[in-house]
Point group: C2
Chain length 85, copies 2
């Protein structure tokens, strides 16, 4: 980890946003997703906010729970989408 120690890694934020989007597409809550992939609800929350640098196996679990192939989880524009403007 050569990145800033205290800051959440910038690369994790768009990933988390993408996860949140896929989850909402399914119309399920973080808790429902949590149940589906066996990861803690608060852990899911951390992922969606880009606070967690999850490992590959958890990416796979998440992909399965979201019913998409793993590569779809990494298939999003590189830029961070702020709120609107």
């Amino acid at each position: 980890m050569t990145d800033k120690p205290n800051a959440p890694n910038h690369a994790l934020i768009p990933f988390g946003q993408h996860v949140a989007k896929l989850r909402k597409n399914l119309g399920i809550s973080q808790e429902e997703l949590s149940g589906r992939c066996g990861l803690d609800r608060t852990y899911i929350s951390g992922i969606e906010r880009g606070k967690r640098n999850l490992s590959l196996t958890n990416v796979f679990k998440l992909a399965k729970a979201l019913d998409v192939p793993p590569k779809v989880l990494l298939d999003y524009p590189e830029e961070v989408v702020s709120h609107d403007n």
Copy 2:
């Protein structure tokens, strides 16, 4: 981690094989790849053999070093390719 504790995660093996393939496509050694992404030589070796459960940020580093978008690193057939038959 609900997986078997001692066994290397089966899902990591095809991933590692894919990494090795992409690396060889570039015609570079593990050590050269190591230098490009800043990860240890022995760690790269472990990844390619499916022994390592790397984190997302390292997936990104690897993708950059291999000069492919991150999603390509997860874009391979789900089945493990044994040797031939």
